[in-house]
Amino acid sequence: MLNQRPGIQDPVRTQARKSFPKTAFSVLGLATAITLASSLTGTAWSQTEAANSADSLAAWAKIATVLQHPRCLNCHQLNSPLQGDERRPHIPQVVRGPDNHGVSAMRCGNCHNDMGNNDTSGTPGGLHWQLAPVSMLWQGLSVRDLCRTVKDPAHNGNRTGAMLIEHMENEPLVLYGWNPGRGREPIPIPHDQVVELTKVWVAGGMACPQ
């Protein structure tokens, strides 16, 4: 569904598609030269790695649609979360507070259950429900800038590529995106596919659009 939306995701995907043959050609040419050289110097860079880099970029285009889905992006905001598929301001009004869990009598855990969604009240839940730290602010970022932010240890919770894969695989608040409770759209790409895409992105050097 998201793939059909105009705007943020499509131009990058289109750009990646358009630029791929030219980029792949020039990269492959370079790779051939380097492979020849590496037979003398022992350098490991190869055609395989050039292909991996292109795969990495293509994987990122899909990962970006996940990270910019309301289930992820609604809580990667500056001071107050958004709510619902329509990304409206959270009702009631809530603010970040010093520990990302709200302020004195308005804390995330006042309504959101660690044990999961409350289907009677419609309140979503999950372990340590909170706003993402300010360092992981994704609000308003382009797909390119989001990519640079996600791979930057200063803005991703000091995570390596392997740790990002682990995060996508097991973090309860990430998994919530596929089990959001009634009235909210789950992430449209299956979780196991997103984990695989993350592995491809990391294996290819966490490539970002130019």
């Binding site: 009631p92 004195s104 009598a105 855990g109 309504c111 309140t123």
Partner: protein, 151 residues
């Protein structure tokens, strides 16, 4: 079976873990001071305390609250609660009163963590407690009066 500790008393009840805490408080234990408002955690009428923190009992499930210390308007006590209820009475805050047990529970939670709340603190912490009579001006004044008494 689920054991709920409410106002210092232990109650073991046959409940679905996903039942809202408010259902148990009102319908199983007949503690009707806590009110049902919107049922979606958006109005604050059902506010109680869980381990000293404000909680919307329509949204928190009994499985989540089990084993924790739950306090309702009937059981809230201590110097902060006394200061708040005294200020509430002195300033005649209540109009229809339906939201007021939730307002008082949130005000007590606020003053326990912030002894000198600013207007901004009050707005941020009380913003989830809706009053259809519009008693917000008196609520703010009563919180400040209680804060002065506690100083």
């Amino acid at each position: 079976m689920i054991t709920l500790n409410i106002n210092g008393e232990s109650h073991t009840l046959d409940l679905n873990r996903e039942m809202p805490l408010l259902w148990a408080i009102r319908d199983r234990l007949n503690l009707t001071g806590t009110k049902f408002g919107c049922g979606h955690g958006m109005c604050g009428a059902c506010t109680v305390h869980i381990n000293g923190e404000a909680a919307r009992s329509c949204s928190i499930m009994v499985g989540e609250a089990a084993g924790k210390k739950i306090t309702t308007i009937e059981g809230v006590s201590g110097n902060v609660a006394e200061a708040v209820t005294t200020a509430w009475q002195r300033l005649d805050v209540v109009q229809c009163g339906y939201c007021q047990s939730g307002q008082i529970m949130s005000a007590v939670a606020l003053l326990k963590s912030r002894r000198k709340p600013t207007d901004g603190d009050i707005e941020e912490s009380m913003g989830g407690n809706i009053c259809r009579c519009g008693t917000y001006v008196r609520i703010r004044k009563a919180i400040k009066t209680a804060a002065q008494q506690l100083a």
